[in-house]
């Protein structure tokens, strides 16, 4: 059996546990272990990607129990893509955090690794219940990370964040047990197969479960009208944590893609395309409202938080349009937005730290040192988010617009994307002009911390990531095209998990609804 697939979960879990035991050890040791584990994750993600590229989903049966009876980890092209993206982001964030920030919050490194474990687990989980469990792992790690420093604003934002997510978890469990009640399985491949055989009297239950799942994942992804928790949490979280959180909303997006293509996909019979009515309008409204939020933001971190929501709106618009081209565009945009939003959070932090007591408020303030370099970094990040050619945002947005060419909803999609892109540019330009050019005092009042070399390298790595997405757009879009094609033919996933012959499987209970 291919034990490599368990590595993205096992490696951070064990390293984090070790770091908890060694919590009194010098911080250098924690940094070294954490860096080694993250590098290991990167190598594992590359190896997994190389194997998953062939097109056959890889399956790891935990304890060698055959599916659907045991727990399976499944890696298809989408999972491998998300694993690699997470590992790349984690490397840059860790490099930024070890420049001294990590010593301020206790247990930063174990929490960081538990967060990575939860993220990787969510991408690998082959059944809905394990998806739930890994969601909880990444959530509890994210609560603690968002709290680092224990400022009152952080406590307040985290309380709201924790409360809404605990409520969402209850809804997730209701949806999961409804699906179990209807189909008698929770393995996603098995569910995909059973969904086509759901009896007429159970169809409403199956549809309810699907829409409940969509609601839960929309909370994680921050889709309108369920995104109101996000700006407070992301803008108050410490910068490296906020940068890491740029992948958190994408987990919700990943779950929506996985469930809508696999369980409620093309082979699902009467319950197929469950979300088509809802997703596109909600995604476009999310994009529009988040852009307005970005225009009105009072802090650079709030601006970035709203741009995070806007990116989710953009990706889910592509997902809602459907088809290979649109999915491919959505995945490209997912990679682009994760990297660039992390970059924007970090740049905003560096600018805020240089301004003393003014922090990152979008308000005229003191002259900052290294205005040119920080200003250029902000200009680059803002222009990329807004989609100025030839940067990665431009390519992503054009891909989404092209994929909508034959859709019925072409007029609203194109209008919203073009208008919001212009408004995003206005929002970023406004913030940059006020913060960098409206100088009222020559020197900052209060302590100002100069950026360290390692922080510049982290920024440079993220910017390079965005540029590489442009330079290697052809091979990357070829990969996302193949990923989209694989997502839209779920039969290969089902065959890989359950095996080609599967007539002898027993149903745990006879047909019939919840009696």
């Amino acid at each position: 059996m291919n034990h490599l697939l368990a590595l993205p979960i096992v490696l951070p879990a064990f390293t984090a546990a070790l770091l908890l035991v060694l919590s009194r050890a010098p911080v250098v040791m924690a940094r070294a272990l954490s860096a080694a584990a993250t590098l290991g994750l990167f190598a594992a993600a590359l190896a997994v990607l190389a194997q998953a590229k062939s097109g056959t989903p890889l399956v790891y049966q935990v304890g060698n129990w055959p599916a659907p009876f045991g727990v399976v980890l499944v890696v298809d092209r989408l999972s491998a893509f998300m694993l690699l993206l997470t590992a790349l982001l984690a490397l840059a964030v860790l490099l930024y955090a070890v420049q001294g920030w990590d010593a301020r919050g206790q247990y930063f490194h174990p929490l960081f690794l538990f967060q990575l474990m939860g993220l990787n687990g969510a991408f690998l989980a082959g059944d809905l219940f394990n998806l739930f469990v890994f969601f909880e792992i990444l959530l509890i790690a994210s609560y603690c990370l968002a709290l680092q420093g224990l400022l009152v604003e952080r406590l307040r934002a985290t309380l709201h964040y924790a409360a809404i997510n605990i409520a969402a978890s209850s809804v997730f469990l209701i949806a999961v047990s409804l699906l179990y009640g209807v189909t008698g399985t929770l393995n996603m491949a098995h569910l995909a197969e059973r969904m086509a055989q759901v009896g007429t009297e159970d169809v409403p239950l199956a549809r309810t479960a699907g829409l409940l799942l969509l609601g839960v994942f929309s909370i994680k992804a921050a889709l309108f009208p369920l995104y109101f928790w996000l700006p407070a949490v992301y803008s108050n979280a410490p910068a490296p944590v906020a940068a890491l959180f740029s992948i958190m909303t994408k987990v919700g997006v990943y779950a929506i893609i996985r469930v809508t293509t696999l369980i409620y996909g093309v082979d699902a019979g009467v319950v197929m395309e469950l979300t088509s009515l809802w997703l596109l309008p909600l995604a476009l409204v999310t994009l529009a409202l988040a852009t307005l939020g970005a225009l009105g933001a009072g802090r650079l971190a709030t601006l970035t938080a709203y741009l995070t929501i806007a990116s989710v709106g953009m990706i889910l618009s592509a997902v809602a349009i459907g088809g290979v081209a649109a999915f491919s565009a959505g995945l490209y945009y997912l990679a682009h937005s994760t990297i660039v939003i992390a970059l924007l959070f970090l740049v905003g932090d560096l600018i805020g730290r240089s301004r003393g007591d003014m922090t990152d408020q979008i308000h005229p303030g003191p002259q900052i040192p290294r205005k040119a370099t920080l200003g250029l970094a902000f200009l680059f990040a803002g222009a990329t988010v807004a989609g100025v050619p030839p940067l990665s945002g431009f390519i992503g947005k054009v891909m989404v617009m092209q994929s909508a060419k034959d859709a019925i909803a072409i007029v609203p999609v194109w209008t919203v994307i073009v208008v919001t892109s212009v408004l995003m540019l206005v929002g970023c330009a406004r913030a940059g002009t006020i913060v960098l050019w409206h100088v009222t005092d020559p020197l900052p009042a209060g302590p100002a911390h100069a950026p360290r070399p390692g922080e510049w390298i982290a920024l440079g790595a993220l910017a390079a990531g965005s540029l590489l997405l442009v330079l290697f757009a052809a091979p990357i879009t070829r990969y996302t095209d193949e990923t989209a094609a694989q997502l839209l033919s779920p039969a290969s996933y089902v065959d890989a998990v359950l095996g080609p012959q599967r007539d002898g499987l027993v149903r745990p209970h006879t047909t019939g609804g919840l009696r």
């Binding site: 909880e136 709290l147 307040r156 309380l159 709201h160 924790a162 209850s170 209701i174 047990s177 179990y180």
Partner: protein, 118 residues
């Protein structure tokens, strides 16, 4: 039995939701716990309700109870216990730090209720 369980779950969930929407942290935590209790019983009910039936193969058994929801509910209980503990600690911390148990981390700035009551 199904009807009784369904009505009971409905009442507990409704009470939980009402408490979750309160403005003080302690009722919110209680509400989240009530909702998770209801969800746990709902998971069990999803595996069909059977009394006195064995969950594993037993010679001469007339019927079986589904063991999977029982396993799922154990995990769900542990997770909701941990989460409740966390949010309770968080609420206490906010109370210590701000002197208020309001969910927004401080008393509302303007109080204008009927007859001048908050």
């Amino acid at each position: 039995m199904e009807l009784m369980i369904a009505i009971g779950l409905g009442i507990v969930t409704a009470c939980g939701l009402y408490l979750v929407l309160r403005a003080r942290t302690f009722p919110v935590v209680l509400g989240l716990s009530l909702v998770s209790y209801a969800v746990n019983v709902f998971i069990l009910a999803a595996g069909r309700l059977a009394s006195g039936a064995p969950p594993i193969i037993t010679p001469g058994a007339a019927g079986y109870a589904d063991p999977i929801p029982q396993a799922l509910v154990l995990t769900a209980i542990v997770i909701s216990f941990g989460m409740t503990g966390f949010i309770l600690a968080l609420a206490v911390r906010i109370w210590h730090q701000t002197g208020s148990d309001h969910v927004d981390g401080g008393e509302p700035a303007t109080v204008s209720g009927p007859a001048g009551k908050p």
